[in-house]
């Protein structure tokens, strides 16, 4: 069993939004690197996971993109958060926090004994 995790449904969008909020405007590679680093390389994002997620967020209007030169002077697509993306992030983060707390309380040994 590897210590690499599958990205859970619904969590990737939140991670991407949070990353873009902190570092944006940022290109796809930057987002991937940041998420891998933050997860201490427990999460690895291949393109087939990352880019469809970006496209979906862009379609929903939570992020927007424009083409700019990157650090190696290639053209890259830089993503930044929109207003509705910011609102979405705040709401999702809160929801996730609540869910996480609930799961933590649920799965803790104390709960099992009662």
């Amino acid at each position: 069993m590897s210590d690499k995790l599958e990205v859970q449904q619904g969590t990737l969008a939140l991670m991407i939004l949070k990353t873009i909020e902190g570092l944006g405007p940022i290109h796809g590679y930057g987002v991937a690197r940041r998420i891998e680093e933050t997860s201490q390389h427990r999460l690895v994002l291949n393109h087939g996971t990352l880019y469809p997620a970006l496209v979906k967020l862009e379609q929903a209007g939570f992020i927007e993109a424009d083409w700019r030169p990157s650090e190696n002077n290639r053209r890259a697509k830089f993503y930044s958060l929109t207003e509705s993306g910011r609102a979405r992030l705040a709401r999702e983060a809160l929801d996730w926090q609540k869910t996480a707390d609930l799961m933590a309380a649920f799965l803790s040994p104390r709960t099992e004994t009662t």
Binding site: G48, T49, P52, V55, Q59, R75
Partner: protein, 894 residues
């Protein structure tokens, strides 16, 4: 909200596919480059760094596919590719495609065209406001001319007071008037209506106003509302006509408005007027005479009332009237009143014919679908290999099914497109056909509903075609492929289905052909009806001298002089043998039919009083028309006003009144409750002659009793000239018309027609029926012959090996041929047997359209069976011959 945005973004993604793909590729490349640069910084060689980055990406193609899946609608794109594939597949098999498209086009086209007619004439809601609440009342009696005797004003009044479920009841009296325009005088058909008529009918003016209660009764100015069609035709849609005066029968009439487009019943009208325009219609005779029936009734149901409620109340009011005025309702004539929804009354005459056509079209569709199904099955067997390969490459069964559906949808839509072309052409022809049967013919068009009908039909056909093709079951493919099979299913099921289809085609063709046969025989029988006239070299024309409808005795003398001047001058034309004058032209029915009595005879109780048509004739009429004199003498120049009152009767009346006695010298007279309302007297008249019966009521009816009076002796209520020539009488039409025109410049001349032209015109509905159903029948015959030949050919193809073995074991060509012929013969006989039963049942349904033939007419049935059998066996011969020429050596080797 974000959903809408997603939808828009996806839709955009669909149309900017190439651009988006290029951008994505660039984005992914940048990602790889940035990642590789990072690895180089950590000390890897550029090549290794790039490889590692590529590996981490998980594959660019996969990523592109994953992005595409969320970007547009992949299923939409794959349908586009399916359509593309389907069209390519259809192009690859042009023979199949053309055959299938043409077949479907015929079936779909015929059905769309006839459906639009059925819808326009029978099904579409009426243009009248709340048209489903309109009712038509019909009074009828037994005997000839009794189908619709209409109502009298006192009867209308009693109904109006006695039926509470009706919101209104309007009177409508058909009438003919003479419209004097500057360049042309013409007779127009009008309806004389009560002021509430338009309100009851729920009709609105297109321009101007309609009549109302203030236009009722005597002493009001005459006004006229133009029917929409007449306004367009006569006044070219000029709206300035409203408010102007026109001359009608010598009086000034104000045009007050133009009516919206609406169908009329029982007759088409050019205009509607208030009653005062005809002094007769506001006279005491009309208003108080219970037996003076000249009025049609239309009524409107109250919002919550039902037709059956109204029927019950009308029946109750009617039986009260019959009790109170027993003398007016002769019990032996069985007076009765029917309450009919107006829409049904409008479609009455067309109904049977139209359902016949719809049925025939449906049959053609069944045959054409059967043909295409059969073609698809044959093609399907050849394609099984392809389907197996596609399955092996990863297409699921549902995907294959979808592929077939798309292909058949493409096929059906192309068929439907051509079908619509046929339908648009056909509808034009059908409108003129429907005009003979229905006042609603102008409402026929291929509208959205008809197009919807076509669409549903095409989709249904496509679905059917897709699901008859057998596909292998899911999971069974792997076995087939590993076994190296070239086919996924046996052809047993396919062949069984094909045989069923061929049997159905033959049966349906037999039904259609026998319908066509019966209708054709009906037409021929009508042509062969003896009109009672000795010759067809007779030209007739009606000349309506001005003011005749007013029955003015002073004007009558002058009119008679004009008529005899016409007779004299036409007789001088070269080639003319005889010229006669008469009130009603031969082979046309008289509008006046009255009760008659014979001197010394008491009417037997319980037997309807005999009635006869009132006709007039001069001394030349019978000879000019070619009506043979059976007994006595013709009229003479001495039968003039003031002379002895004499009549000539036809054989039907002679038989009815005198049975086997000699009627010459007996005295008869007009009688009955209606007589006082006519200008005729009830004096005794001596019978001086008996003439042969003629088909005045139409070729398909029994000859009706008629009494002729001397043209000179009676008030002329109508008139016309009968011209007999040695040969080619039609050429006299122009010269005779010129003479009449010179003598009576303003008189309308109508129906200038030879007897054979008249016969042609009166048979034309039957001729059209026969032609339409026959063409359907021929299409059906051709398709089923092609069907049976195709199926046998296919069967021979599938059995080539078997036949080869048989032949190498000693079977000769003749034997093989017989084997195949037997196979076809079984199909043919089963189809014929089912078809004959169907034909018999179908013919009973159209009995009302037949004349002179019974539904089980043996000549028709034998003829149809023989035709079908000969054509069918001929069709079987081709594949049988091919089978007998199979070379066993070649088949066995391959």
């Amino acid at each position: 909200m974000s959903l809408i945005r997603t939808v828009i973004a996806r839709a955009k993604g669909l149309f900017t596919k190439d651009l988006r793909d290029a951008e994505l590729r660039e984005e992914l490349e940048t990602h790889i480059a940035l990642e590789a640069a990072e690895y180089v910084r950590r000390g890897l060689s550029p090549a290794d760094a790039r490889r590692k980055a590529m590996l981490a990406s998980g594959g660019l193609t996969q990523a592109t596919e994953a992005v595409r899946d969320v970007r547009g609608w992949p299923w939409l794109e794959s349908i586009a590719s399916d359509v593309n594939y389907a069209l390519r597949a259809l192009r690859r098999t042009p023979a199949f495609t053309i055959a299938a498209v043409l077949t479907l086009a015929l079936g779909i086209g015929a059905n769309t065209a006839i459906f639009s007619v059925v819808r326009g004439v029978l099904l579409k809601p009426l243009p009248h406001r709340d048209g489903d609440r309109l009712l038509y009342l019909r009074q009828s009696t037994d005997g000839p001319g009794g189908a619709n005797v209409s109502f009298s004003v006192p009867e209308v009044r009693d109904f109006r007071n006695g039926v509470s479920s009706l919101a209104g009841m309007a009177e409508y009296s058909p009438f003919t008037l003479t419209l004097q325009a500057e360049e042309n005088t013409m007779r127009i058909d009008v309806g004389l209506v009560t002021g509430n008529f338009f309100d009851v009918m729920g009709l609105s003016p297109a321009i101007g106003r309609l009549t109302n209660a203030s236009d009722d009764g005597p002493g009001v100015p005459p006004v006229m509302v133009l029917a929409h069609e007449f306004w367009l035709k006569q006044y070219a849609g000029d709206s300035s006509i409203v408010g102007k005066q026109v001359r009608i029968d010598g009086q000034s009439v104000t045009v007050i408005g133009v009516l919206q487009q609406a169908p009329f019943f029982p007759d088409r009208v050019d205009a509607l007027c208030n009653m005062v325009i005809s002094p007769h219609h506001v006279s005491a005779m009309m208003v108080e005479g219970r037996s003076h029936r000249m009025t049609e009734i239309v009524a409107r149901l109250k919002p919550n009332a039902t037709v059956s409620q109204a029927s019950v109340e009308v029946a109750a009011a009617y039986s009260r009237m019959q009790n109170e005025y027993a003398d007016v309702y002769n019990a032996a004539s069985h007076y009765r009143v029917a309450v009919i929804p107006f829409r049904k009354a409008l479609g009455e005459r067309a109904e049977l014919t139209l359902w016949l056509l719809m049925g025939a079209a449906a049959f053609v569709l069944i045959i054409s679908i059967a043909n295409v199904v059969s073609l698809t099955l044959m093609r399907g067997v050849r394609r099984e290999q392809e389907l197996v390969v596609r399955a092996a490459l990863g297409a699921g069964v549902s995907r294959l099914r979808r592929l077939l559906l798309v292909e058949n949808l493409a096929l059906a839509s192309i068929g439907a497109a051509f079908g619509l072309l046929i339908a648009f052409g056909g509808v034009k022809m059908l409108i003129s056909f429907a005009e003979r049967y229905s006042p609603r013919a102008s409402e026929i068009r291929i509208d959205l509903t008809a197009l919807g009908f076509t669409l549903v039909l095409s989709v249904a056909v496509a679905m059917l075609l897709s699901y008859v093709a057998s596909l292998p079951r899911e999971g069974s493919l792997a076995t087939l492929i590993s076994a190296g099979a070239r086919r996924a299913s046996g052809s047993a099921r396919t062949q069984r289905l094909q045989r069923v289809l061929v049997v159905a085609q033959i049966a349906v063709s037999v039904v259609l052909l026998s319908g066509a046969g019966l209708l054709t025989r009906t037409m021929i029988q009508l042509y062969e009806v003896d009109t009672g006239l000795e010759t067809e070299e007779v030209l007739t024309m009606s000349v309506q001298l001005f003011n005749q409808s007013r029955m003015d005795p002073a004007a009558d003398v002058a009119n008679k002089q004009l008529y005899s001047q016409m007779r004299t001058e036409i007789a001088r034309l070269p080639g003319v043998k005889k010229v006669g004058l008469g009130g009603v032209m031969p082979l046309r029915s008289s509008s006046v039919r009255l009760e008659v009595k014979a001197e010394g005879q008491m009417p037997a109780p319980g037997v309807a009083v005999p009635k006869a048509e009132m006709r007039t004739a001069d001394e030349q009429y019978f000879r000019a028309a070619g009506i043979p004199l059976k007994r006595g003498r013709e009229f003479a120049t001495t039968d003039v006003p003031g002379g002895a009152r004499v009549v000539i009767i036809n054989q039907a009346l002679a038989e009815q009144l005198f049975h086997n006695e000699d009627p010459i010298g007996k005295r008869i007279a007009w009688t009955g409750a209606v007589l006082p309302f006519t200008p005729l007297s009830g004096d005794w008249r001596t019978v001086v002659g008996v003439v042969q019966n003629t088909q005045d009521g139409g070729l398909d009816t029994k000859p009706q009793s008629a009494m002729f009076m001397p043209f000179a002796q009676e008030l002329a209520m109508g008139g016309g000239v009968v011209i007999r020539a040695d040969s080619n009488v039609a050429r006299l039409a122009a010269a005779s018309t010129r003479i009449v025109r010179r003598i009576a410049p303003t008189a309308p001349i109508e129906n200038v027609m030879t007897i054979s032209q008249y016969k042609d015109t009166s048979i034309s509905p039957q001729r059209l029926n026969a032609a339409l159903i026959s063409s359907f029948g021929i299409v059906a015959l051709v398709m089923s012959v092609v069907g049976i030949a195709g199926v046998l050919a296919f069967s021979v193809g599938a059995r080539t090996n078997e036949i080869g073995i048989r032949m190498s074991l000693g079977a000769d060509g003749g034997r093989v041929q017989r084997m195949i012929l037997r196979e076809g013969g079984v199909l043919l006989s089963v189809g014929l047997a089912i078809g004959v039963v169907g034909a018999y049942l179908g013919a009973r349904l159209i009995q009302g359209l037949l004349f002179g033939v019974t539904p089980d007419d043996p000549i028709t049935l034998v003829g149809v069976i023989a035709t079908m059998a000969v054509m069918g066996i001929g069709a079987c011969w081709i594949p049988a011959l091919r089978a007998s020429r199979i070379d066993p050596a070649i088949t066995m080797r391959s």
